[in-house]
Amino acid sequence: MKPARKQRLQLVIFIVSVASIGIGLAVYALRDNINLFYTPSQMLAGEAPQNTRIRVGGMVVVDSFVRNEDSLDTAFEVTDGAANIQIQYSGILPDLFAEDEAAVALGYWTSEKIFKAEEVMAKHDEEYTPPEVADAMEKAHQATDKNAPGLH
């Protein structure tokens, strides 16, 4: 092999190995850092893991929002139409957070069946419902109905 050829080969091996190590690490890290989305029904059915960061979403139940008078602690319920769960959050809620609107929370599901949120996200604008929430609502409805026609 000519030296230039040999060098090219070494280079290719170097690049391929760096890239494959990288991809391996990426897949590994992805497994630890993805936040799965669960609906309130799934959570009450015990499908959601505890002590893992997950997301939950639904419509904020009307008249469920309460706030501690002395701190920034808040609690509210979200529903997918079939089940409600309580979410506790301490901090400032987004501008577009409101009852009877969609919200998604990121946090931990505890053994007391309460979701401790680290972050609460509301829809971005007036017309937008987070797709997960819209899906969850419609799925919850179809799940309660055995005769549901259709393809889902």
């Binding site: 050829r5 990426a26 577009l96 007036e126």
Partner: protein, 696 residues
Amino acid sequence: MITELGVLPTAEFGHFALILALCLAIAQAIVPILGTLFNNRLWMASARPIACGQFVFVAASFICLVALFLGDDFSVRYVADNSNTNLPGHFKISAVWAAHEGSLLLWVLILSTWTLAVAMFSRTLPLDMVARVLAVLGLVAIGFYLFLLLTSNPFERLLPFFPGEGKDLNPLLQDVGLIIHPPILYMGYVGFSVAFAFAVAALMAGRMDAAWARWTRPWTNAAWAFLTVGIALGSWWAYYELGWGGWWFWDPVENASFMPWLAGTALIHSLAVAEKRGLFRSWTLLLAILSFSLSLLGTFLVRSGVLTSVHAFAADPARGIFILMFLAMVIGGSLLLFALRGPTIARTASFGWVSRETFLLGNNVLLIVAMAFILLGTLYPLVADMAGWGKISVGPPYFNLFFVPLVLVLGVFMAPGSTTRWKSHATDTLIRPALGIIAGSMLIAAGALFLLAYPFNLLVFVALTVSAWILLWSCRDWWQKSASSQGRLLGAKRLRGSYYGMLLAHIGVAVTIIGVALTSTYSDERDIRLSPGGQVSIAGYDFLFKGVVDIPGPNYMARTGRIDVSRSDVPRNNDLSRSDVSRSDVSRNNAPVTTLQPEKRYYTAGGQVMTEADIDGGFTKDIYVALGEPLAGDAWSLRIYVKPFVRWIWLGALMMAMGGVIAVLDKRYRRLTVRAAQADTSAALKEGVGVSFDAD
């Protein structure tokens, strides 16, 4: 009279101009190529005037849309959806590119601006090259015109029923930052189309030499500089407008702009090797294609909303299919061309393990690996959703986990790499100074932490060391290269613009790393409840909440809070968990710093609520206050942040962009393009190798 242009109403005139621009783009794509095939100089030369014509018509079309917005013509659906009579004038203009249709029109306007620039500043290029480059740009433009006209016409009328009042611009977008952010970002995105067109032209011609790399470099640098500023502006906008003080979220929209930036950065560096040494030629072509493909992907995926939900495609299948077809044709077509015509004869020039080539190769590998990670993290939720693995999101920890070490490694190699020679560099001349510089960098990092009185943090220490390392290497390199028998001043003047550009850009990277490290670690962020008269001490400042008053704005009602900030007399503490809330009405005897007036705006047309933070910006720290929500009584929840060195993040980015601009302005490109065009490849190569203190 703005609203009537001749016989046609403005909207129809704009639509018509757009159709004419499409026709010219078709001509621009076909005629010059035929010219190169039949060797007809007239046809080739027609590319320039056609490009000018295309620009004129798309500009006219754009002006029409602006006029429709200024004239509050709500019979046009796009205007009705994104404007309102009460919207201030400058926001009416920025509303033009607030949504899908208008931003696409801005895209083609910028594309034809770049095309025009290529047509004007390409006098030194061979005619057949100009013809091919402009033809490729014309092809890209055709895709956009068709997309606009067939699926996203901004001039569509709501007839016969149209609203008397518009829905108003999304309040998030009612901001000065958003007036300039999209155009500059698009200048960057679209600018890569020029590098792309050069690459495709080279493949078509089967000629890809040092001269090619030299023509491509300034265009790539310019696009990259715009993209850098665009990303920095986006980050800055998120920081002060979203109201929670974050400056980077790793969200899909940001990632979409960051990926072409990384690929573009790799391209800039591999172009240097292609020009100077004639190596990495296939790779450089591929990077040019990749940078532009990622720009296209970014534009489309962000605008079509597919990144937030797969269902966005379903909501409008016509657009979705068109986007896929267009991406497939542009990317697939250029990659097919690359496969068929790519340089197959490997250049046999070899280089030593310690040489500038090696360092630049390392740079490229690291940047592309970083890009691949981000691409994976961005597309993974989409793939998971499609494959039915559940709805997931990939959090910032994933991105940070890779990106932070990759950037630090990049920083470590970047500094000495830029001082090495081409071909081969004596290893000991690199290692000896390196030892001294490592020691110096660690001292500086430790000293900085001590002077700023921050608690020790290993990651911050490493980051500061890397930054100091970059700075010291840069200084040393400049000191050596500016040495001259006629005095240092003359020696410094003799160094090229592109060298100073590189130096500034690399220092910018160091500055950004410092900003990111310090602000991520030592920010003091508190969400707190305060009643009027209540006071809190954070990071050495007292914040006295004076209450909230109502002030009407042009199209909103504002509740404006007032917070007096003064320097605290209590000793500064870094215990982030402690807060010191006192309800004393009398402020302590402290030096006043500033008064902040954050707002909560209630927009009348759409009923939306917006948080406007107030920031006391400084070179070494920002004091950031935003109103949360009204609580019982007159109390409010407040976000109070003290963020050290946060401005350095954007300052560094601006320095990088400035570096890019300085490199573009280097006279060498203009002078040498003439020579390079005449000289053959090998001569150009020899010339490149012969220059020892080179810029890149």
